[in-house]
């Protein structure tokens, strides 16, 4: 207990310096946490996947659609228990900044495959009845202040023209992992719209085509087998398919921005290095100033290890107090960030792992910073150290 009080007294002997160091630590540890949370948010779509769902897309790339008649053929594949389909709509609401995902889906089968989108039964029926209708996520509705019955207009980038939709329902996510910033519209509405344009001779896009098929399987262990069966069915056809688990599909998206993710991760470690340099500087100065004290302690008969312990203890204490404050600050910071980022990150949560890593980072900073001064102080010559006082 005595040693602990000594550490505390020592740590705050040079109050300004210790406080400045702590400010640095708070900034570094909270920034580290925020950056890691941003990386996590990128992977959020992967966490929300189900192992019983497969995604079938064109073997060429996602931008190539598949014929609608594949649905019946995939359904008959052994191991498949359900099928639905979706097209990426890619509309713009007022400005490009308001980015959010819109899917044109086959409502009955799609909602059956995604039970995590919880929708009021009455709203669901209203959506099913109204082909101009749309269902939006809770967070998305809150963001733009939409209510059931509101009419909204999207400007199509893939499907030209302005499209109007009436909001018929607002869905809730089953848990925190569910994306509540999506919008679903009727696939049939899209197909009709395209068909009208094709008839007018102004559309190079074909109607009755599907972006991706979502396939439900009985047994998650069969995923590789069922995927192979589906792809074999369309091998050497006009539109070959590629089937993968929903997780692999989402990971494919994440890996596209891998270079940026790696950069963000690298940068999150750089901030730890920066604060390590600052903290090491503080500890070096502290040790240099107390040269005479440590020599006195040694002269009194304390072993060199005691001085080492004092330095490590003080460094760790400052690092952990600063780190603790930094962790506490991460949460309001993350909230503020997600507000500023708008719809960019549907899921944004500071994970327990991140907090663990923050604690670890603070501890490592504390230990590394004390290492060099501690080594030096343990080797001081008593006579020389005492002379320093004069």
């Amino acid at each position: 207990m005595f040693v602990f009080r000594l550490l505390l007294k020592n740590a705050f002997r040079h109050r300004l310096r210790t406080l400045l160091t702590m400010v640095g630590l708070v900034v570094a540890i909270s920034a580290f946490g925020l950056l890691r949370t941003i990386v996590d948010a990128w992977y959020a779509g992967v966490d929300a996947t189900s192992s019983t769902r497969l995604i079938t897309r064109s073997a060429i790339s996602l931008t190539f659609p598949l014929p609608l008649n594949y649905a019946e053929r995939i359904k008959s594949v052994e191991g498949v228990s359900g099928i639905s389909w979706a097209n990426w709509f890619g509309g713009v609401y007022v400005t490009e900044r308001n980015f959010f995902a819109q899917f044109a889906v086959d409502p009955v089968s799609y909602l059956a495959l995604y039970p995590e989108f919880k929708l009021d039964e009455a709203d669901k029926q209203a959506f099913l009845r109204d082909r101009q209708g749309a269902v939006v996520g809770r967070k998305l509705a809150a963001k733009f202040g939409w209510k059931v019955g509101d009419s909204i207009a999207l400007r199509g980038t893939i499907y030209p023209g302005t499209w109007r939709f009436t909001i018929r329902g607002i869905y809730q996510g089953a848990d925190a992992k569910t994306d509540e910033q999506q919008m679903f519209i009727h696939w049939q509405r899209l197909a009709d719209g395209i068909r009208a344009r094709v008839a007018a001779g102004s559309s190079p896009i074909k109607a009755d085509y599907v972006g991706v098929y979502v396939v439900r399987i009985h047994n998650p262990d069969d995923a590789p087998l069922v995927s192979q069966r589906i792809d074999a069915l369309f091998k050497n056809s006009l539109a070959e398919t590629l089937t993968e688990t929903e997780k692999a599909f989402q990971l494919g998206f994440v890996s596209m921005s891998e270079a940026i993710l790696l950069a963000v991760q690298a940068v999150s470690f750089i901030i730890i290095l920066i604060i390590m340099a600052v903290m090491a500087n503080t500890m070096t100065m502290t040790a240099r100033e107390r040269l005479a004290e440590y020599a006195t302690l040694k002269a009194l008969g304390f072993p060199p290890a005691f001085v080492v312990k004092l330095l490590f203890g003080e460094s760790l204490m400052i690092a952990l107090i600063g780190g603790g404050l930094g962790i506490a600050l991460t949460f309001p910071l993350a909230d503020a960030f997600v507000k500023a980022a708008g719809t960019l990150f549907p899921i944004f949560k500071v994970s327990p792992l991140t907090v663990g890593l923050q604690v670890l980072a603070a501890a490592v900073v504390g230990l590394v910073s004390a290492a060099w001064p501690a080594w030096k102080m343990s080797r001081i010559d008593i006579v020389q150290g005492l002379r320093h006082v004069a």
Partner: protein, 391 residues
């Protein structure tokens, strides 16, 4: 004798005297400057790559509102209307310098990791090559029209499986033989695969082209052509200068990276400023006696202030140069990422421009100024008597 300034050698020697502290503080600043410079270099690299892709007298025609080539579609009938425009340049043989191009995204595995990523595959022709003088075949030869031969950009040839000279890529139900590799002078075309336009249309079963590019006979005639294309009721198309089109493609990604990087640099700089402040406070505290002596010798308060401020700035400059040198090494790195505006892979280099170097050093000096001002101010305010007594 008026002693206005403390000699620089005194300032520099102070830093040298406390080498470990100087190095640690400058090291912290160097890391911040490194992040700051790298991010600006990345953003500039993306911008420069895409801007270099466009030619000033070329015009791109896309479906109205499409924004990117993969979203666009131009029917054969519409293309026929376009070819009747009088402003299109011709080459020596009277051939129109106009290229109809299907552009598709193809998900292909990378050479190193096997990870799939999106590659832009463009159907073009000999005229398409003429329209882009920055593109040169550096290995092998140009593809022959009417065959399943392709040429690949240097970044694709390097980064994707089967894309090297003499290798074969399989997509759209066919095997495509790579007969040449082209260098596009660090433009976005380096990240593309080129083949015969009509072969691509057949293989991908496309009924429409994605874009039409043509060269203007007179670069000044752009506004007239634009008005004519966009005013024609048969065409629901829009025309853009190629330079502008590609510059717009870089906007979102370059801005995103720049903003993210600047926000990070500012947050990080707090850490480094704190470090500088600690160092400068200690520097002042350990030299109270010296400050008193300097003042007693006749140096003014302003001289003391500028001496300590000069020390902080010199410290920051050392850090800034260290960071900038580290960042300049990044120029040797080739990276590629998916541009989310076009959804396709884009290879680029970090680019250090004089303006970025100046901004980075300016940022470092600003950190030194902010960190050094309060300690320097405090040093200057000390009373001579107190100083000398403390010593």
């Amino acid at each position: 004798m008026s002693l206005r300034t403390v000699p620089l050698s005194y300032i520099a020697r102070n830093l040298w005297e406390r080498r470990v502290t100087t190095l640690l503080t400058a090291g912290g600043m160097a890391l911040v400057v490194y992040v700051f410079a790298t991010v600006l270099m990345m953003s500039e690299g993306i911008r420069a790559t895409l801007v270099a892709t466009g030619q000033p007298d070329n015009v791109m025609v896309l479906r109205k509102g499409a924004g990117a080539e993969i979203n666009s579609g131009i029917t054969r009938e519409q293309t026929a209307v376009l070819t009747s425009l009088p402003q299109i340049a011709t080459d020596g043989q009277g051939r129109q310098l106009l290229s109809r191009e299907p552009v598709v995204l193809n998900t292909l595995p990378k050479r190193a990791s096997g990870q799939p990523s999106n590659v832009t595959v463009r159907g073009t022709s000999e005229v398409g090559m003429l329209l882009r003088p920055q593109v040169r075949i550096v290995q092998g030869r140009m593809f022959r029209p009417g065959t399943s031969e392709i040429v690949t950009g240097t970044a694709v040839a390097r980064g994707f499986a089967g894309a090297g000279l003499g290798e074969t890529m399989r997509f759209a139900g066919r095997d495509w033989r790579v007969v040449g590799v082209f260098d596009a002078s660090r433009s976005a075309f380096d990240s593309e695969v080129w083949g015969d336009s009509e072969q691509m249309m057949q293989a991908f079963r496309r009924a429409a082209y994605s874009s039409v590019a043509f060269k203007l006979a007179d670069a000044e005639g752009f506004d007239a052509v634009k008005a004519q294309i966009e005013g024609d009721p048969r065409l629901t198309l829009e025309a853009k200068r190629e330079v502008k089109f590609y510059a717009e493609q870089s906007e979102a990604l370059a801005t995103f990276i720049r903003l993210l990087g600047l926000a990070l640099s500012i947050i990080f700089s707090i850490g480094a400023v704190v470090g500088a402040m600690i160092t400068m406070f200690a520097s002042v505290a350990s030299r109270v006696g010296e400050i008193g002596t300097l003042r007693a010798l006749g140096f003014r308060r302003s001289a003391v202030l500028s001496a300590f401020l000069g020390e902080a700035l010199l410290l920051a400059l050392v850090g800034g140069i260290m960071g900038l040198v580290a960042a300049s090494l990044m120029q040797a790195v080739n990276i590629s990422t998916v541009n989310f505006q076009t959804f396709s892979e884009l290879a680029f280099q970090f680019r250090l421009t004089p303006s970025i170097a100046a901004q980075s050093l300016g940022f470092a000096l600003l950190m030194g100024l902010v960190g050094g001002f309060i300690p320097a101010w405090r040093a200057a305010r000390m009373k001579i008597v107190d100083c000398l007594r403390a010593a």
